[in-house]
């Protein structure tokens, strides 16, 4: 187990190093000149060069990357070109909002996805099953920007049940969590359905039924705990999905997370922020996958760590 963990952590570090190198190189190759952005349109060439030197952007690529990397190891993500604040401060101030949104989204996708999958499996082949599966298909394929605006319009503007965007209370959290969770709910319902159908065919379920247990007891006492395992093991992998989704969802709902920060930074070529958010996201994805792999054998003994 420890050897496995060590190996995985080394792998994770290498992946992150690769991500940092590729992102840094891509941003370096951008034709946009960040110094021009900082210096403004009235700057003299002398001012531009002076700023370039101060930021060390006159150095060759390898020197710039090495300096970024050494700063990174001491926890320094640099200063934003546009906001002129510490990138780490900006990310830390926004991370709690993004994490909260992810927790909400995980709840949404589990509750919606698992119950849809469960019902579809039990009602397999019926119109209900088909309707639910069409629903899950829509959930997987609908663009989050559209889903978000639609939910906002119906539940916040027309019905007034929830606030129109913003951050602060649990009521602010419902619509963005739902928007982010719907995609995952679509996947989960399909996985849950096939897993449940598989379990319902097993001998122990037949035995439970033969004992004369009620349908409810069979489903919730025997089938569900077994069917749910492979699905729950996927949560860690979801984090990757969420990282893409939060950029859109946070923009629509005015949610002050790192997705919104990243989106604004991309529009303004604020390279230190783009680097910082990319690295933090990559960390989250790598850790999420690692967690999923470590947890899996505990949930499902058929899986072994090697």
């Amino acid at each position: 187990m420890i050897a496995y963990l060590a190996r995985r952590l080394i792998q994770a570090a290498l992946i992150l190093l690769g991500v940092s190198l590729i992102t840094f190189a891509l941003l370096y190759l951008l034709p946009a000149d960040p110094v021009r952005q900082i210096a403004g349109r009235s700057a003299t060439p002398q001012t531009v060069e002076s700023i370039r030197q101060q930021l060390g952007l006159d150095q060759p690529f390898i020197v710039q990357y090495w300096r970024y990397l050494t700063n990174l190891l001491s926890g320094d993500l640099g200063r934003s070109y546009i906001q002129r604040s510490e990138v780490s401060e900006l990310i830390v101030s926004r991370l709690p909002a993004s994490l909260l949104l992810m927790v909400g989204a995980i709840l949404c996708e589990l509750v919606i996805g698992l119950s849809m999958g469960l019902i579809a499996a039990v009602k397999r082949g019926t119109a209900t099953d088909q309707a639910l599966m069409v629903g899950s298909f829509i959930g997987v394929s609908a663009p989050q920007f559209v889903v978000g605006l639609l939910l906002l319009y119906v539940f916040a503007v027309k019905l007034g049940w929830f606030p129109i965007g913003g951050y602060g209370t649990w009521r602010h959290m419902v619509l963005p969590s739902l928007t982010l969770g719907i995609l995952g709910a679509g996947w989960y319902s399909r996985m849950m359905r096939s897993s449940m159908i598989d379990v319902l065919r097993q001998d122990y379920v037949r035995t439970a039924r033969a004992k004369g247990l009620a349908q409810r007891a069979v489903l919730f006492g025997h089938a569900l705990p077994n069917a749910i395992l492979p699905v729950v093991a996927m949560i860690g992998i979801d984090i990757g999905l969420f990282m893409g989704g939060i950029v859109v969802v946070e923009s629509v709902f005015g949610w002050p997370g790192i997705g919104q920060l990243a989106w604004q930074a991309i529009q303004r070529v604020d390279i230190p922020i783009i680097m910082g958010v990319t690295l933090v996201s990559a960390c989250a994805i790598v850790l999420g996958n690692l967690l999923a792999d470590i947890v899996a054998p505990f949930i499902d003994p058929r899986i072994k760590l090697r």
């Binding site: 952005q37 700023i51 906001q83 605006l149 129109i164 002050p256």
Partner: protein
């Protein structure tokens, strides 16, 4: 416009006769205004920094003006200069020495009184390359600027403290725009001790002399400004508390406004909702329309064939159907025929420019040796409505045989292409278009049409360089005497007319601003489309429902 000029000129003539200009910033307060209340403003993008030496965004521009003051400012809702922290000023006959008498008893938010030393410190700081100010170039006419910009000195030799309430600024050349420069955010006065205390984070802990002071800033979420009870301009501001909510999409902000949760959506009415809002009389009544010191134009790279031929450039000017483009953006603009926008001094009302005439355009192309047209590229920023506008231009050009392929890129990439000598044959300026830094005709020339901007990484994307016009521009800007303002404006009109004859640009339209406000917001409409305190003048607006 004319009215504005004549009144300014008359007033200026009087001032000059007295040898000293002095105008009370203390205007008659709005009798209907009530003190108190709180309002909510929304913005989509983060507020980057509130350091006046650095902030240069749509959302922080007016915030900085409310937290800090400069020696000069403008009468609310107008482009008319008046003293602000200065009580009066004196210009030497050669136009090279400006002496400002400071208002007494003005206090920073930390309680200390502002003095002439603070003015000098602020100017030294903004020009110091370590500050990395995007506005440093505005101060290039001050004596000693070169030394400070070059890192040889930390102090501008041209700025001297005569006594605690007098500052003398000496210029290396007469500069008619200098009073505007003293009104621009970059020149606003900051207290040294606070700047030193917070260092690079001063922009997050702004301390100025302005009408409001910072009460709270939750990064990425909200900023709260509180009324400065010690503000020198007694009676102002009216509102007790302004909350800026950040990260709100314009469309969400509009919904919240309709719901009564927001008072002013700072980013305006989203284009997709514009017609719906304007079709509803109740909502339309809450929209204020005003001009903007902005021009949208197509640049043609005069160093690249075939745009090195003036006839080709003139043909493009005639080929573009501006009325159709204005309709395409729901009439949120007026067609343009010259570089200057209509609300700018120097704008020539009588100038007609190039009329839309496809046949004449074709004929000109023929004369230029391209009867069959040619292939070229049109660069455009990739956010709506710019690609749609570029498509309309593309169709218009196709009608005279010019096949332009559209390069739709992120803003920074278009700017980078424009700054390369043979980077972009044509650029549609939308989304990056020139909005004046201050209401003076010279502001539309230097960086975007003068030789100085036609350098690698510059903003003169047509690479147009006319030495003769550069000299004329310098001559016009050396007319500092306010009594000769009309003569100066005329010189500038001539310069822009000559530019249009050479046609490095095809001016397309001047955007109009549309600000929407909640029914409870009070104050003159012009405060909501203030040409300088963009987007609205927070110091003078008020709410009607204060008890």
């Amino acid at each position: 416009m004319k009215h504005w000029l004549t009144t300014t000129v008359a007033a200026s003539a009087l001032m000059l006769a007295l040898g000293m200009a002095s105008a009370a910033a203390q205007e008659t307060l709005d009798q209907k205004a009530k003190q108190g209340g709180a309002i909510t403003i929304t913005y989509k993008d983060d507020v980057a920094t509130l350091d006046p030496a650095i902030g240069y965004d749509w959302q922080n521009w007016s915030m900085i003006k409310s937290l800090f003051d400069g020696l000069m400012d403008y009468e609310p809702g107008t482009t008319k200069l008046r003293p602000e922290l200065a009580e009066s000023y004196e210009i030497s006959p050669d136009g090279k020495t400006f002496t400002f008498k400071l208002r007494k008893g003005v206090k920073f938010h930390n309680g200390r009184e502002m003095t002439a030393d603070d003015v000098k410190y602020s100017l030294d700081r903004v020009t110091n390359p370590k500050t990395q100010s995007p506005g440093a170039g505005f101060f290039a006419s001050i004596n000693g600027y070169e030394d400070v910009a070059g890192g040889k000195s930390e102090s501008l030799s041209g700025v001297s403290v005569v006594d605690p309430s007098t500052v003398k600024i000496e210029l290396s050349r007469p500069d008619a725009t200098f009073l505007h420069v003293m009104a621009i955010n970059f020149s606003h006065v900051v207290p040294k001790e606070e700047v030193e205390k917070y260092g690079a984070d001063f922009g997050k802990h702004p301390v100025g002399t302005g009408a409001y002071k910072m009460a709270e800033w939750t990064l990425g979420q909200r900023l709260v400004f509180e009324r400065n009870a010690d503000y020198w301009n007694k009676g102002l501001p009216y509102i007790d508390k302004i909350t800026f909510e950040i990260g709100q999409e314009p469309i969400v902000a509009l919904l919240r406004l309709q719901n009564g949760e927001v008072d002013v959506p700072g980013d305006g009415i989203p284009p997709a909702k514009f017609q719906e809002v304007m079709a509803d009389p109740e909502q339309k009544a809450r929209v204020v329309e005003g001009g903007q010191l902005q021009t949208g134009y197509v640049t043609m790279n005069t160093t690249m064939a075939p745009f090195d031929n003036v006839k080709v450039r003139q043909a493009v000017n005639m080929a573009i159907n501006k009325d159709r483009i204005v309709k395409l953006i729901n009439n949120r603009a007026v067609p343009a025929n010259q570089p200057l926008p209509p609300s700018m001094p120097g704008y020539d009302k009588a100038f007609t420019g190039y009329a839309f005439d496809v046949e004449k355009a074709k004929a000109l192309l023929g004369e230029a040796g391209h009867p069959e047209g040619f292939e070229t590229e049109l660069f455009v920023m990739n956010t709506d409505p710019n690609p749609r506008i570029a498509q309309a231009i593309q169709q218009d050009l196709a009608a005279i045989g010019i096949k332009a392929s559209i390069q739709s890129l992120a803003q920074a990439n278009v700017i980078a292409a424009g700054g390369e000598k043979d980077g972009a044959p044509m650029i549609w300026s939308g989304g990056m278009a020139w909005i004046a830094d201050f209401p003076d005709p010279s502001n539309f020339y230097g960086p975007i049409l003068g030789c100085g901007g036609a350098v690698q990484g510059g903003w003169n994307w047509s690479w147009y360089c006319n030495k003769e016009l550069d000299e004329k521009a310098a001559a016009a800007d050396s007319i500092v005497d306010p009594a000769k303002a009309e003569e100066r404006a005329k010189l500038w009109s001539d310069i822009y007319a000559k530019i249009m004859a050479d046609a490095p640009w095809a001016p397309v339209f001047n955007e109009q601003r549309f600000t929407m406000k909640s029914p409870r917001m009070g104050g003159d409409d012009k405060l909501y489309v203030d040409p300088v305190h963009i987007p609205i003048n927070y110091d003078y607006v008020y709410v009607n429902d204060v008890q």
